[in-house]
Subunit: 386 residues, 2 copies
Amino acid sequence: MTDSRPTTTTNHDPIRLGIIGTGLAVEKLHWPALKRLRDRFEVVAFANRSRPNAEKFAALSGTPIDRYVADYQELLGRDDVEAVLISLPIPLNFPVSRDALQAGKHVLCEKPPGKDAAEGRAFVELAAAHPDRVVLIAENAFYRDDLRLARSLIDGGAIGRVHLVAWRNVSQLIPRPGAFSSTPWRHHPGYDGGPHLDAGVHDVARIRLLCGDADRVSGATQDANTTHGGPSDLALTLRFVSGAAGSYTASYPEIPAPDEPNDLRLYGTEGVLSVAWDTTRLFRPDGTTETHRAEMPDYGFTNEFRNFADAVRDGAPVVGTVVQSWRNMQLVLTGLAAAERGETMPIDPWPDALSADAVPLWRPPGASGLFDGLETAVTREVEGAS
Amino acid sequence: MTDSRPTTTTNHDPIRLGIIGTGLAVEKLHWPALKRLRDRFEVVAFANRSRPNAEKFAALSGTPIDRYVADYQELLGRDDVEAVLISLPIPLNFPVSRDALQAGKHVLCEKPPGKDAAEGRAFVELAAAHPDRVVLIAENAFYRDDLRLARSLIDGGAIGRVHLVAWRNVSQLIPRPGAFSSTPWRHHPGYDGGPHLDAGVHDVARIRLLCGDADRVSGATQDANTTHGGPSDLALTLRFVSGAAGSYTASYPEIPAPDEPNDLRLYGTEGVLSVAWDTTRLFRPDGTTETHRAEMPDYGFTNEFRNFADAVRDGAPVVGTVVQSWRNMQLVLTGLAAAERGETMPIDPWPDALSADAVPLWRPPGASGLFDGLETAVTREVEGAS
């Protein structure tokens, strides 16, 4: 693949953004980030099949309603739209991104890149066929300050060689008013894997950011949830390119789960790292525990939009590439296939190579530190050996 | 297999027991149980290659030193020995049990039944070839009061259908004076699988007692411990005959592990059961938690000897058969082989059939309750929905 995007430019005008789909993810995740980056983005158009939903977005964001169009094709036809944010039901990610790229727009599209493996591969090829356009898949885990901090600890050798990666993530999944679980398209999904493709790709992104690619997977599935499509339980055994062994279990039962640790644990030869929802703890062999917190404004979404803007305006490299998000969905889908077939399956390296150092660590452009210029409040507490 | 053991007898004299190997397991596990059962067993002979170790056992147990013999073959040649307890390094389990059965003794032998898969199968055949002798493999997990209680909850439908079985068991393993980890034969083991065959079979026994047989396994291994032979880490994905999915990870790192939950969790359609070292908690969907404790005298060893005595004297069925312990070691060894080959492997049903209800629940003979006539103190606390 070649990259013919400009590497220097003097244009630092806000990017003229069109939003396609103004549902829950935009309301909860994308708009709060865009609001912080008014100098980088201006919403010049937004599309939604439902006018009431569009009016809701106009009201909450203060975007004039005359920027609304019902049909996203109309939005794509406008010359004043430079880039689009696509936040739609999963089966629309690929076709709408294709239309947007064909219309010459830069694309920031929600994960996963496609409803199944065939679409995921087609999405990789689609992006490669548009080297002069920026395509970023909204895998916020790559941009989360807490996870970047955890990654920097590993890169710094804090736990030595990681030999075991273990994560069990169990949480009840039933439709709740106002939450993503209430979305009708999630209940009878037109995509493979149910919650494992929808939410599980974030887990895999976290694992890959911290531990690199797996090259082998086996699995087992079961179902204990009538409210969502797809198996509720996915248990995977992983082998990593690094040589580490891995165990990943995700369960979305219909009944409540008791208190679950739900932290990802990385066992190293010189320490153990526990990566929980908002806290990273480093356990050293001498009995000391370091608790690291990165108080984030928004779980990585602002950083993600920064990376997108820097890529569009300055040719900065994208961390959340289509290939990266393909790798995330690929591991979920290969694990599901391995479970169904009763086989241990290799991870296909296409389109490049699997790597122990798979995901680049995003930093603010020109920064040497992880948090230079960001609002992130980082704290570190050390408790001595007991 | 036929069973020509007597089903009725009037002989309730104590069983004249010979002990072969009087090391740490006898001191810590078997003797405390035998001491409680003086009406069922009398130690008439004991063998140890090391006279100082034998003297230590004589002193702690009050057994006259004139019952000591250096050579276990001499012990097996004595007509006054009815049965033997074999507690030796793992590679001796099979050959010494074979000698004992050929000498006409009933056998209670420490787990695992053999140093590798070939010996395990040979042990199954050996026991089948001696239908008039009782052979019990000392898998105490089958007899633990807390685990029997947990099993009875599952049998009673407390958590509905079990759909997911998940267990991660991590604990530092380094030689500690006076502990099993100090035993030299464990550091350079003459058997497959290192700590996974030695300790892991107990984990599998617990899983099988509660969830039945697995019929498919895949795995990954890594090593991060220079003090013991075999891989330190084993991550397995299981599929059970019942249909449940399973994840089992055992890690014995050289450096200290942080606080780990280390509880086995069974996720059912009507509740979740957490089975920890000394506490079983039942989480119901309505938010109530039932905490069950069975304060055991000794983690099942006394029950195990009771079962052995009842089998020898009254023809009672043995729960801890060679086949049952073969199944435990078989799952560990097949998981290790699956990891090495990079394959998902079926569990060979030989010599009978795999079952969702694999391990019979031991009860005191003639008892309808689980704890009739035992010293076990059972408590149950209920906390309401919060």
